[in-house]
Amino acid sequence: MPMIYVDGQEIEVKKGENILEACLNAGLDLPYFCWHPAMGSIGSCRQCALVQYQNEEDTRGRIVMGCMTPVSEGARFSLKAENATQFREAVVESLMLNHPHDCPVCAEGGECHLQDMTVMVGHRDRRYTGKKNTYRNQYLGPLIHHEMNRCIACYRCERYYRDYAGGKDLGAQASHDHLYFGRHEEGVLESEFSGNLVEVCPTGVFTDKPFLKQYSRKWDLQSAPSICQGCAVGCNIAPGERYGKVKRVHNRYNDEVNGYFLCDRGRFGSGYLNSDLRLDYAGIKNPDGSFFAVHQQQALDTAAGWMTGKKVVAIGSPRASLEANYLLRELVGPKNFAPGFSDHEADLIGGIATILQSTKSINPSIKQIETADAVLILGEDVTNTAPRVALALRQSVRNKAFELAEQMGLPAWQDAAVRNLAQDQRSPMTIVSAMDTRLDDVASTCVSLAPDDIAAFGHAVAAALAGETTDNAEADAAAQMLKAAKNPLIVSGSSMAHQGVINSAAAVADALSQAKTMLSFCVPECNSLGLALMVADGSSSSLKALAKRAVKVDALIVLENDLYRRGDKELIDQLLASGTKVITLDMYENGTLDQSDLVMAAASYAESQGTLVSSEGRAQRFYPVHSPAAERLPSWQWLLRLAKVVEHKKLSKLEHFDQIVAACAKSSPLFAGLVDVAPLNSFRDRGSKIPRQTHRYSGRTAMNSGVSVHEPQQPKDHESPLSYSMEGLNRDQPASLTPFVWAPGWNSNQSLQKFQSEVDGPLKGGSSGVRLISSSQTGAEISSQVNEVTLKPHQWHLVPMEQIHGSDELSAHTDEIAELAGRGFIAIGEKVAEKLAVTEGDGLLVKQGDVQSSLEVRILSRVAKNCIGYSAGYSETRELTAGSLVSLEVDKAWQRSGPEMIASDKAAFQQVIGDGGASNV
């Protein structure tokens, strides 16, 4: 390892890194703006200047940019040299020339990198007396607020949005001191990852719009380490709460999972937590169908009365924690427990769980996905089903560029140079899907096939890899591509609702001989895989089997699950039929809850703790951000208390969360790793619990004084090593217990580098989560049978299209997400549209057997023969079944929904027209 000298101090550095990274690794404060650990250096802001000396005798030196200067053995630098400090101060002073007097009314204030750097370089008094440049703002959709005056032209937004996330509709415009970062015209940002602009922008140009509506300063937010519940990727998040409301969700760094970035569903999709639909009290149904609120104990006693000595069955949920599902399963016995998947989904996820336990390939983390140098995607629109994985796939195609750079001796952090060198050369990616995917723009080959044919394609690739000759040239090409790669990656998933597709992906992975072959599956919900592992022994029941027994059953317990999303109405009605007492634990009103006889108000993920298993097989713990409001209780506590009341032999011995985890870990060899997921409740860091509040949490003696001047004691957390307090130290603890990042002098999220063991490396407390699945490496046992379906004329295959905004059950209850989701739609190819004489926005009647839905038309740019897509998970399309055959008819009664803009677009557009803004932007 080379040694360098900074201000006489000897520093050990990593070969190939730059001096800015070296300084940050050594704990030295060197200001910067444009450099970002995930995006490398371009040397545009000139902020990280320091002096480099030729040798020991050189006393003058020369100013170099830290982010652009590689370290070399024995190099001498100075941070403190007067010309360097003056230079850095002058840079900030010039950046501040046009900066508006906005800090008090800026949502970045208090966590602003520009504020931090200004203080760090010591700039205080404004000398420039000229006029400040001003700009007009743009409306960028319901998620991002734009305030262009605050820009310092570091280019981070453009580099993130275009180069990193592959967006096309935001960029730099104009030149010199007229530089403008925005869209060509006002409108909703197209990228599914636009929310990261909030964290990437070092100042307040892009801020979180929903957060702005209920704004609190960073120092006033109570945060806890949490896991995103939006999909199965398991991104680490840090939600912030104040006055009982979850105000925003910030990224929580996990080097192996989400790194620095989240998707928009994860960042903005938690608004439902503050929704009016949330339940506050347990309730028992009146004869007239309404509920009357009861105390917790009364609810428990009522439930116990219906359960003791009776036949009780239960349905779990892939969106509830492992612990809650475990308790419910134990409470009623495995045979009387159904995991709460739809029956088809249960097969798919179960199949994936089996494959992951036997495949010869690696089930990769997101970090590993980024290293793939050839990708085959079978049937999945990853951007909509596992968004954060799609962002990693976008990085994987850059490996070609890094390879070229390495041949040239160019360090990977020389971002502009590497991109310039590679131009459009990318690592190969083949997407085989029924229709457009959001990754098509970086794919080298896109093949449009119906789900059955995708499975056949996969098996053909596997056959070609095994040396057999196939008559499928595209499959041969895909096989060649995978064979030539060092780290080939196969991605598939359950969104096609097709077992054959999943099996064929496993077949391809097992046919590859590379040691670093990766196989990744997208599964739908945050704990789908965990639940599949729990019922992997086959002892549990299915919805259909339970429905058959419904007549003989006295009581049914439903855990956080809207069953009407899981099966057709007939089946669910049969399940919930009168005669059976239905007890539901959930957090908001839904169809299942309306049919229940007793409802227990469950706490949300922000009010309870639990473990989730991500699609990677990583078990991760989420912790309550605030204590449950009103009479809500976390599901695991409801069930534990219920077990006590009914005097369950095994469960009534358990008291605490840690004991449940231990019992759950013992229940199956697959769950043995659960005990290591996070530290025990007894964990103390330097004698105290980890504080959820910042050291400058304000208003403690006034927050509640409007109600009573007598201050209540802070709520106590008896179940986790975190406290609802500002006392304690948030530093160097295990990564799974990091509620927020802050370091002296670093108030913004850039303080993360003080928590990392090295730049872009794991946190000082390691990487959180434990991987539960280890493969037996025997190769997956799968059938290669492919279904053959004959279509009648004018019939189409229904292919589900998952949508990042709208398909997820919970986030769709967030106003902003619902706005972006729009109406349920039917997606058809151009030719079909021509034949039916419809255009985008028209209505079509979709007939599937007796079911008929009227849906909006969207036109696809590429689509497999005889396939049409529908928006999966929307209420309008709930009656439609994936894979079924449908016929189409123009809906004559259809009303087009005005100009092609979403609701908020219109309001802003009129406002802009009103004050003459648009023409000047």
Partner: protein
């Protein structure tokens, strides 16, 4: 010995000086305008609330007796939805006034705030807000800030140039 005599002399000397004690409450003492007493929220010269809910007063308060929540007016400007000071905790240190970037929060020479019921020491915005500018007659934050308001377009704030036309080719 010498020290004791000196002390006695000093004490005796004060017998002949004018007493500082006043017969409060019959006689009111003079308190200068910068005296740190009861806190008020002032209005700007245009009669609008000065407070922009930036939370700096709450952050700097050593006894954490200020709590507020930001809300937004229709024109995008910020104001406090509620603003609460728990005077039973307040130590009249004046740091909130020092921190305030808009001169909204000011301390006044009124110190007579005794109550029989502690709950009455909790002041909400309606109790704090006065119809005046307090000690700073001229300042209006939104005339300086780059934010667009109902009465001020972009580029019309103090020391601001007209908004840039990004489509122009002129230098």
């Amino acid at each position: 010995m010498l020290s004791e005599l000196r002390t006695m002399w000093e004490v005796l000397k004060h017998t002949f000086t004018k007493a500082e004690t006043v017969q409060y409450p019959e006689e009111m003492p003079y308190l200068s305008p910068r005296y740190r007493g009861r806190i008020v929220l002032t209005r700007d010269p245009d009669g609008e609330e000065r407070c922009v809910a930036c939370n700096l007063c709450a952050a700097v308060c050593p006894v954490d007796c200020i709590a507020l929540q930001k809300d937004t007016r229709e024109d995008g400007t910020w104001y406090p939805e509620f603003f609460r000071i728990n005077f039973s905790r307040c130590i009249m240190c004046g740091m909130c006034e020092e921190a305030c970037p808009t001169y909204a929060i000011q301390l006044t020479p009124d110190f007579e705030m005794c109550e029989y019921d502690r709950q009455n020491m909790v002041y909400e915005k309606e109790h704090l807000l006065i119809n005046g500018v307090g000690k700073y007659p001229d300042y209006n934050f939104y005339r300086v800030s780059g934010m667009k308001t109902a009465t001020k377009d972009k580029g019309e704030a103090l020391n601001e140039a007209r908004p840039i036309d990004t489509k122009s080719l002129l230098p």
